[in-house]
Each structure stands twice: as C-alpha cells, then as structure tokens.
Amino acid sequence: MMKGIQMDLISEDKLDGMTSMEKVRLILDEVRNGKILILEKGLTPNEQTKLIELTMTEIAPDDFSGIEIESYPVKHDNNILGKLFGKNTVKTRLTVIGPADQLKTIKKDRDLISALVSAP
C-alpha cells in the first residue's frame, strides 16, 4: 500500500448540515488521527474560538501539541437588503487544518496559502 498522509476535503454542503459543536469535534478527531482537512467553507469566528478552546483542553505532552489552521479573513456581503433583514452577511472561506507537528504554513497572504506537510 502507498504510504502517505490522508487528506480529506469536506464540502460546503456537508458543513452546512452540521452544528458548530459537531464541526469542531469532527475536526479535532480527524486531526488527532493525523489527517489534514480542507474545508470548502471555513468556520465562523465563534466556531474558530470554540476550536481553539477545545484544542487547548486536549494538548498533552508527547501526545498532542495542537493544530495548525489557516484561512482567509471572512468576506462581508455588502448587500443592503441582506443587512436590512438581518441575513447572514458574513462569508467564511477555504480553510486548511492539520496537526501542528505535521502541517506548517510557509507563507500566507491575501490570496495564497502555502504549506508544508510532513509525515508524523
């Protein structure tokens, strides 16, 4: 069998069908199994802080040192009708998440994320 690192690309549709806690739990479980995840649509700011909190509770010496996560800043929808009627005007974007000891961001700017993936 080919050796390598498993990478899962999770669709926007699947993410839309999940609650915040389900998303955060799924991400952490998969990352702890050594997977790299790519989310078609990113996490809301609130989900990002939830993920950080849960990550912190799971860090343990010589077992798990945390996650690497990179995404683009949210996009704001400037549609005035949307704003008036309280529609969600924030659009989260492509996100990559992996174990901190296997995924390292080399460079990130406005429209490019460049990362290095290594074996455990």
Partner: protein, 210 residues
C-alpha cells in the same frame, strides 16, 4: 431577526455608546507580540503602577490581569478604561519550545499546561469586552489565524478594534504590511518598548473607545 428587535438592538447600542463612562478594553494578540509591555506602559503613564511581567520566552502571561479605572486624557477629552492584559493566543503549544529557552523539562511542561489554560481564559474574556487593542509584532507575517480569529470575533460582535503594530524600533518591521492585510481597521505603528508614537495611540484610544 425581526425588524423591531433589530431596531431595539441598534438603539441599545447607541445608548451604550453615549452613556458608558467606563470601557473594558482587552489587549490581545499572539504570544510575544508585546501586550504586557504595552499594558505596562499605558498603566505606568496614567497611574504610575505596573501591570505584569515581560519575557522573551512566549506565554509569559498565563492569567488575564485587569487594571481598573485607567483615565487617559487626550486633546481635552478624557476616557476611563478597564485594561485587561490577556495571555497570548495560540492554536498550538509544545513544551519542547520552552526547553529550547533553557527551561527544565518539568518547568516547560508546567508552563505549557498553564499556557493552554491561559489561552482559554483569554478566549472567554472576549464575551465581556467593549473593545480590543490587537497587538501584532510588525516584524512578522500578519496573516495568522490568531489575528483573523480576534478580528472576526470583534466584527461579529460589532465592537471597536484598534491594531497596534508593535516593535517599529526594529529595522525589519512593516506596519504597512499589516495595514494592507486588514485595511478596514484603524492602525497605529508603535514601539511599546521605546515609546515611539505612543501619543498617537492614546489619541486613537480616546477616539475609538471614548
């Protein structure tokens, strides 16, 4: 959300803006950005006291600290703040990093454990603030998840955010790079260590948190 409820929320927001005498301001950012150095300078300049210890080893602050009633006077107006110096935010903490600074394995493991608790505390504080000063090390890449997450949370709460582009005394610093990353937020280039441009920061604090 219903229109009435939204209007009422907007009204509350306006009321808050005019009635609040004291604003609770959190100093946020990644480890080592200079948050405590800045908090010390603000508190020393306006009260004569100090706030907390500073170190080149990351995660020096592992408990949030609050200093109440710091009155900043600027251009004839005055603003009274509660200042909260928070532990540096991170998505990863590896005790080996502390050992490379010369700490023993035991010390490093303890520091890592306390640091994880500190991050959680800093995140929890986000719910109880009126504004944030986000401190970034201007010699480093600004597009980090920590910065994106703090900014996203403040935008979602519709609370004011001021970026302090710190360490401009260092030759490789680039506040312009930070500004182009987050152009929608006010930014003040400073050196918390040497005091460069601190008056401009006080003016911005009075303008945005007053």
């Amino acid at each position: 959300m219903g229109i009435i409820k939204r209007l009422r929320q907007n009204f509350n927001w306006i009321k808050r803006l005019f009635k609040k005498k004291k604003a609770r301001i959190g100093i946020y950012g990644p480890p080592n950005a200079g948050k405590t150095t800045l908090a010390n300078r603000i508190v020393r300049d306006w009260t004569g006291d100090a706030m907390g210890s500073v170190s080149h080893i990351p995660h020096e602050t592992r408990r949030a600290r609050r200093r109440e009633g710091v009155t900043i006077e600027c251009n004839g107006s005055s603003v009274t703040l509660d200042i909260i110096d928070t532990p540096g935010l991170a998505t990863k903490i590896d005790f080996h990093d502390f050992m490379s600074f010369g700490l023993t394995e035991e010390e490093s493991k303890r520091r890592a454990k306390e640091a994880t608790e500190g991050v959680i505390e800093a995140v929890k504080w986000l719910d109880d603030l009126d504004g944030v000063i986000l401190v970034m090390d201007a010699t480093e890449d600004p597009y980090t998840q920590v910065n994106v997450t703090v900014i996203g949370n403040m935008e979602a709460r519709k609370l004011p955010l001021l970026i302090a582009a710190n360490k401009i005394d260092l030759p490789t610093s680039s506040p312009a790079r930070i500004h182009s990353a987050f152009p929608q937020h006010p930014l003040v280039p400073i050196s918390a260590l040497e005091g460069q441009n601190i008056d401009a920061l006080y003016q911005q604090i009075a303008a945005h948190f007053g």
